[in-house]
Amino acid sequence: MSDAPDTKVGIITGAGSGIGLACARRLAADGHHLVLVEYNAAALEACLPEFGEQAIGLVADVRLEADTRQMAQTALEQFTRIDYLIASAGVLRPGGELKTVAETSLDDWRFVVDTNLTGTFLSNQAVLPAMMQQRVGDIINISSVSGRKGQAFDATYCATKFGIIGLSESLAEEVRNFGIRVQTILPDAVDTPLWEQNGPAVMRAPVTLPPERIADVIAFMLNLPRDAYLMNPVVGTFRSGRRRKKNG
């Protein structure tokens, strides 16, 4: 099993809402020490008190190298090690309006690519020196079922989620000899504020997963025996016909 001490230290980006916040709650319940990284200062301020002494917050932008370095440094200064990183900072689109590729501005493209893909690269890169020195660590990156199949109006998002799989598989090969396990999860539609970026009343999936379910699976992936890992697991919704009827 892992040689890490009982109290694990984790960094979670995008911790102010959605999957990131659900992970923070799930792993705080396991007694872990957390660095919660969030771009939106108000969101971080709103959730931070519930974690008490267990977590410290850091307002940071994963698109900026200086910020992701600060993120790793904060964890090391406060808790002396980094057992895992959950890179869950992500956006769907700016502006709350669906756009085709033909209508997508370069600025909009860059906003999504910089946050989702470059943000995953920079946050991963930032924790590597500490993990390589420890010779153990876990990185969980968040792709999507949109990382396997493209769909109309989501070209930029899909490109980043495909890219996260490529980045993660390459990194996994590079660092496995250091005991660093890099895994990528591919959730189906999750009930998070990300959907609000589609604008009012359009394109919301009919069945969504609560973010707590993704957090459960991520906790499971972190706790796998050290000689096993999950390769790009898809997490889908399951609702039987019977239950659907019961729920009206």
């Binding site: 396990r181 379910r213 706790n223 096993a228 999950l230 697991p233 889908g236 019977r242």
Partner: protein
Amino acid sequence: MNRAILITGAGSGIGRALAVAFAGAGDRVALIGRRLENLEEVAAGLPGDGHLCLALDVTSENDMREMAARCQAAFGRIDILVASAGIGRSPGSERRLPWPVHELPRSEWQAILDVNLTGVFLSNRAVLGTMAAQGEGLIINVGSSLTPAGQRGRAFAPAYSASKYAVTGFTESLALEVGRSGIRVMVVQPGVIATPMVENTALSRDFGGSMRPESFAESVVGLADLPADHLLPDPYILPFKPTGTTP
């Protein structure tokens, strides 16, 4: 958790490790396999009681009907079927080298497909009635990841590769068919595991080693424990920083 678990191929390898892991989680296990003495040996080492040994063949329609009926009678329900019976060569085969396609005898092809694919069909079909009546159930079929990059064809393993791809296709179809009855169906795709079937093979060298059967089994139990409102339809469970057979 006191669930009723059916495991095919429970006499050795992956199936044996799965039986130990589920029994360790507090479940009652029905061990299904061809040789009773192997099953009884595994059962003797299981924690808890109320386990069942059934010497039955997954390639026999009657045997699989009997499996479901006897488990239903003994446990009163069937919560989980793990279809892990699988072979890499026909039982009793003396041949050491793998067969190339142009020499592969029809009988060898048939034997592998019978166990790996038809055995999955027959064992799955046998439990559907009970699970549908319960309004819930979980079927975990054991596929295979023949390369570190996932399910791919592999030279000199044509029947095995074909059978495991087919298990994935079968599983996806069944999952769509019976989801409305509350039955979840998934296929787990293990990378190389330290079992007699793959020890000292090229497969083991490709992966740079193997994971312990206990680690694979613990991972499957973890997947089975996740809440029933979601599903990982086809997770790959692969060896990480392989440790071979040493824990």
